[in-house]
Amino acid sequence: MKLIRAIIRPESTLWVIEALEKNGIYAMTRINVTGRGKEMGITQGTVRYSELPKEMLMIVLPDDTVPKAIKVIETTAKTGTTKYPSTGNIGDGKIFVTNVDESYTIRTGEEC
């Protein structure tokens, strides 16, 4: 079992959720976060925004569906320009995958 944490643009969240739904992935947790990457935020004129709002999706999946989910998130969350649709932009986000040892359903109290 793996935990996928995808930090994506808030405006692309609904598209990603819809795409995941089409692939049969419904269960997820959403958290509003702020953060920055190696560009240290964004500078607009003389104003510096050191943290930008993002949305974090947390999804726990069995090992075999993880590559598919990553592919779906990657292709949907990537923004493109009109000229080069698949280039992506700075700030599109990141996906982290970590291990999950055990998971329990509280309703039944059993490991699943």
Partner: protein, 145 residues
């Protein structure tokens, strides 16, 4: 060392805190999250008086843009006493604890939060490589006790 991620109901957060206190777990991080599980955020509400009729619940869903066009492939006909809310508000607990304490904490959380209804939440246990206390710079297990 392991991290416990528990997604629970908002109204059980205080009780859970008290229960964790009693077994000696002090450090807990609470996060307000929204989420859903296998049921796609559908809740069944009790309606003994029949005050909230099916037509009303359909109307509410339409107002929220959850259902609309029956030709939409995502359209599903609403069931009586069922409301599709999309994402539901939950609390997420993050606890980093020593390996031998994990089963006790998991048992305590399950005991408090179990109501045998859908939406009770889930607990995930993940491995953690290292923990550092910022004040002293201590590493490992010393940092979490």
């Amino acid at each position: 060392m392991r991290e416990i991620l528990a997604i629970i109901r908002n109204e059980r957060a205080e009780q859970t805190k008290a229960a964790l206190d009693s077994i000696g777990v002090k450090g807990v991080t609470f996060i307000n999250v929204i989420g859903r599980g296998k049921q796609k955020g559908t809740i069944r509400y009790p309606d003994p008086q029949g005050t909230l009729k099916r037509e009303v619940s359909i109307y509410i869903m339409q107002q929220r843009g959850l259902i609309g066009n029956p030709e939409d492939p995502r359209y599903h006909a609403p069931v009586e006493n069922e409301l599709d809310l999309g994402f539901l508000s939950k609390k997420m607990l993050m606890i980093v604890a020593d390996d031998n304490e994990v089963p006790g904490i998991v048992r305590a959380i399950i005991q408090i939060n179990r109501s045998e209804h859908k939406g009770d939440g889930r607990i995930f246990v993940c491995p953690v490589n290292d923990a550092i206390r910022i004040r002293t710079g201590e590493h490992g297990t010393k940092a979490i006790v």
